[in-house]
Symmetry: C2
Subunit: 246 residues, 2 copies
DNA sequence: CCAAAAGTGTTTACTCTACACCCATGG
DNA sequence: CCATGGGTGTAGAGTAAACACTTTTGG
């Protein structure tokens, strides 16, 4: 029988993507701790990690990822996809990472394999939970990611690559937008993810051909230009569509 | 410092695909052991598993997969791709699987997460190694896979799905063919993998447009019909081509 | 009336699909 | 001379890409 003890050898890390109508963002966690090994100077260290944790022995990997997401953001039922597993025995290369493990783990030298997921969340819905395992979490623009702990930059790069690849063939972008959106918002999102401009008319043609969005008959309000029509995702059509052409 | 001890919590399983010019095959291992728990009848049990093993603490996951492949087939430098990690805490569902672990593992009840790879090998090159950890290994046609141990049928299904998906966008099929091949052999391979017929003229058009094969000027010999031209892969062009259109 | 983004169609190039006959060889 | 698979091109449909002007609103 498996207990809910933490398995010291397997962790799950989540690359949580969000979109603020300007750029693609990633949720990172500030790690604060004292390096009391450094000439007894008790130097405070602050750096950034991807949200993640060891897996419990009685949960699946998917459940573990969901748990991490819920603990951190309070959100459930969000898009989540396993994309790669990182298992280099030398994942812990930096001195401060080893130090930090020493303060956090019962077996700090154990080799940990991490199964990586990416998640797509609606930034609006996100209210940071101050009591979660993250003392502080913050959204970072995808083009402004500093050096992260462990191999987390590598994980993030691969997550972005996986997101871009998946988005080409499946209409998952709406997971990053509110329930009601305009066509320009969708286009700007795709541009933010791929990092290049798209043709407005062609984009709308393709999007409408997918037949998974419905106009609500509403209009944007309070904008100092022609107000855009508001659309929503047609969930049934979305489920049926096994492959889009984006 | 990590040793080369086996990590009891993480394994690597390999779905090894081969092609015999007739159908797509998978290399499976016969597991023989005695169920001495069954009314003391010492019933011999034979069933099938995917090749796999626990990971050593000082090797990467890729290295582990390579090691398994080499131990089993003697082959090196073969195409290998991680496609998914399976971590259901109830991966061991069948009674005989639990029994078998009891005979093989120091901690038979430990939860094991398995990182799955698929490999593409040239059947010609394969000479089974009788001394390897597999007492007996055998190629099974993809449409004739019996029930396997653990969750290995699920792993195999996902491997095939991953292979099909990857093959659509990358010209990896040649990994399954000998160095010299005819165009019809390539086509029959694709048909075997996707399980449907393809149009000869269109197939050849697409293949030649990829610009990664070169005719050798040779012809097939000893066939009782018009002999086919023999081609080979143009490695440089293959490396450069980051995405085919299959 | 100005600025800003919304909204809309057509032409052209390219790619994909369907399809049928002659050829070279061994037996 | 027969059976078998090898080898080739074209027409039509569908998809993707390029491109510019009018509309509506707030300030």
């Amino acid at each position: 029988m498996k207990t809910n003890a933490l398995n010291p050898h397997v962790s799950v890390d989540c690359v949580i993507f969000g979109y603020d109508f300007e750029e693609l963002k990633v949720l990172l966690i500030e790690r604060n701790y004292f390096d009391d090994n450094d000439n007894h100077q008790d130097k405070k260290i602050t750096d950034l990690v991807l949200p993640g944790n060891l897996v419990r022995d009685n949960e699946t990997l998917d459940e573990s990822a969901k748990r991490i997401l819920k603990e951190l953001t309070g959100l459930e039922n969000i898009f989540l996809e396993q994309f790669y597993t990182f298992g280099d025995p030398n994942r812990v290369r930096k001195k401060q990472d080893a130090e930090w493990l020493r303060t956090m783990r019962t077996d700090p030298d154990a080799r940990v394999i991490t199964v990586a997921y990416f998640a797509l969340v609606k930034l609006n819905d996100y209210i940071p939970k101050p009591d979660s395992f993250a003392r502080r979490s913050e959204w970072y623009g995808i083009d402004k990611i500093p050096t992260l702990a462990f191999d987390h930059n590598e994980i993030l790069d691969k997550a972005l690559e996986s997101l871009r690849f998946k988005l080409k063939y499946f209409p998952i972008g709406f997971e990053l937008l509110p329930k009601k959106f305009t066509l320009s918002q969708v286009q700007k999102l795709y541009e933010a993810i791929y990092g290049n401009k798209l043709d407005k008319r062609n984009f709308r043609k393709k999007l409408k051909a997918l037949d998974i969005i419905t106009p609500l008959g509403e209009k944007q309000k309070g904008v100092s230009h022609k107000p855009a029509s508001v659309y929503t995702l047609n969930l049934k059509a979305y489920q049926d569509s096994q492959s889009g052409s984006f």
